[in-house]
């Protein structure tokens, strides 16, 4: 993960991976001749890639469940969603900034829109921006990725419109800093020590800068709510922030905050899939114990 931590995001992450060749499969190693033979065989086998049938089954299973629960929720089925402490604390954090007359700082991660965590972060940003609009609290959204910057501007603008406060919105709320991970970190820590925001939201995809931002924010006494699915960075957020959204909690945050039935329904569908995954693991383990590796083999990816 070291490259991802340092060079990856600095050079634009996924786009670089896209440029590099994908991780090789056995077929690649076997060489071209095999490939053509197999291609001929596949032509007779039809339209679908036989290597990915297991993924297709999972995909269809997952989509069906999520979509079914979305439509059930829309028809008015009541859904229970457990409390997520980090998200309930958002009100408290923005409230404190309002009381103290200080700003709310929201760096939406350092990755582009090609990363789902960024999309998830923007959903939370929409909620936070509506609150700052409602209470007339200053909001500051510094950006590292230019596309995220463009989208964050739309998100915040729409939040201020929705709250009926277009007068409070201006383009300076969301601004661009630089494309380098650590130059961005230097600027954001600069904002933290100079302007002493009362609440810092570190939600999205963060890499090595996570600890720098979180520790610096901690030293200025801000309430900090962090959230990421970058496993390597979670320990630092957990140590230095008041609340941390871990992995899946980040992705669910937008739905949780929106309280829209459709969004909550998707979370229910996701939960059922998770249960199915657990049951599958247990069943496959028992079968393996009885001497059949069949269910385990089904999970093999080419």
């Amino acid at each position: 993960m070291e490259t991802m931590g340092f060079l990856g995001p600095a050079r634009g992450g996924r786009r670089d991976q896209a440029r590099a060749a994908p991780v090789p499969s056995d077929r690649d190693v076997a060489g071209l001749t095999l490939k053509t033979a197999e291609a001929m065989q596949m032509e007779t086998m039809g339209f679908l890639n036989p290597d990915r049938l297991n993924a297709l089954v999972l995909f269809l299973f997952f989509c069906t469940l999520v979509l079914v629960f979305i439509s059930l929720a829309r028809r008015g089925g009541r859904l229970y969603i457990r409390k997520i402490a980090g998200l309930n604390a958002i009100d408290e954090a923005v409230g404190r900034a309002t009381e103290l007359g200080k700003k709310v700082l929201y760096p939406p991660g350092i990755m582009s829109l090609d990363e789902n965590q960024t999309i998830a972060s923007l959903a939370v940003l929409g909620h936070v921006a509506r609150m700052t609009a409602r209470y007339n609290t200053e909001l500051d959204v510094p950006n590292k990725d230019p596309l995220t910057f463009a989208a964050a501007r739309e998100t915040v603008k729409e939040a201020y419109m929705a709250e009926g406060r277009p007068d409070l919105y201006n383009d300076r709320l969301v601004h661009y800093v630089t494309y380098d991970q650590f130059a961005y970190t230097a600027s954001v820590t600069g904002i933290m020590v100079r302007e002493k925001p009362a609440a810092n939201f570190l939600i999205g995809s963060f890499y090595a800068e996570s600890l720098l931002l979180a520790e610096m924010g901690q030293s200025t006494g801000a309430i900090q709510i962090a959230g990421t699915a970058e496993i390597a960075q979670l320990p630092f957020f957990v140590c230095s922030c008041d609340y941390t959204l871990i992995g899946e909690e980040l992705y669910a945050a937008g739905a949780y905050l929106s309280r829209e039935p459709a969004q909550l329904g998707s979370i229910k569908g996701q939960d059922i899939t998770k249960a199915a995954v657990g049951v599958y693991i247990i069943t496959a383990t028992i079968l393996l114990l009885l001497g059949s590796g069949f269910l385990r083999r089904l999970l093999t990816i080419e």
């Binding site: 999972l58 995909f59 997952f62 969603i81 090609d114 990363e115 596309l147 899946e248 998770k274 599958y280």
Partner: protein
């Protein structure tokens, strides 16, 4: 030229380190310069490594075969319509295409590349063939994965058995986080060693060397 460069680099290094004491004009200078230089750096990188080989060169050498590359160029240019008051919502189209594409890529990648293999490596033999320790390890692995998954259940109240299991899940998370924290300290310390070593050997000793040669 080289020694001058090393002096510049060392000065900037010290400017950044000064922030550890407190915010000061030197750090602010380095911070601003860094923001500017890095942005300029990526403009250069993108121009030379992306725009040139992926857009300009293909269009120049074989326009007929690559004319379609003008489409993304147009989508890219469309991002700037935000500055035209009447068309300031056109940019949405570009964002929609970009987000849509990657959301699709991520969806299959996550299900195929993460869920399936992680499930598979959790299905481990619970037999004594690998010795009692091997069995214990495998049990720990399965228990850990399942309890963490239970922690992530959103639509169940965390009470009773579910609450207990999810608590165990949190313990697993904390153990993992602690271990990972301790493990990372090492790599980070070597970064600092690298910087201090630069200051000591390249800058201090390099300057002494150069002075010696001069005299």
């Amino acid at each position: 030229m080289n020694l001058l460069g090393i002096w510049i680099a060392s000065f900037l290094t010290l400017c950044i380190f000064s922030f550890l004491y407190k915010d000061n004009p030197f750090f602010r200078f380095a911070e601003s310069l860094f923001a500017g230089v890095s942005l300029g750096y990526y403009i250069g990188q993108e121009a030379d490594q992306t725009i040139r080989p992926n857009l300009i060169e293909p269009l120049r050498t074989n326009f007929a075969g690559n004319w379609d590359l003008l489409i993304p160029a147009l989508i890219g240019v469309n991002l700037y319509t935000r500055y035209i008051p009447k068309a300031n919502w056109w940019a949405r189209w570009s964002l929609a295409i970009y987000v849509g594409y990657y959301v699709g890529v991520n969806m299959v990648q996550k299900l195929h590349g993460e869920v399936l293999p992680q499930m598979q490596s959790t299905v481990v033999p619970l037999s004594l063939s690998a010795g009692p320790m091997g069995l214990l390890n495998n049990l720990i692995l399965i228990a850990g994965v399942l309890s963490v998954l239970i922690y992530f259940f959103f639509s169940l109240e965390h009470k009773g058995a579910v609450g207990l299991t999810s608590r165990v899940g949190i313990w697993f998370l904390m153990l993992g986080f602690g271990a990972a924290f301790g493990y990372t300290v090492m790599g980070r310390v070597s970064l600092l060693i690298g910087r201090l070593n630069y200051l000591i050997t390249q800058w201090a000793m390099g300057t002494v060397d150069a002075l010696g040669r001069l005299l």
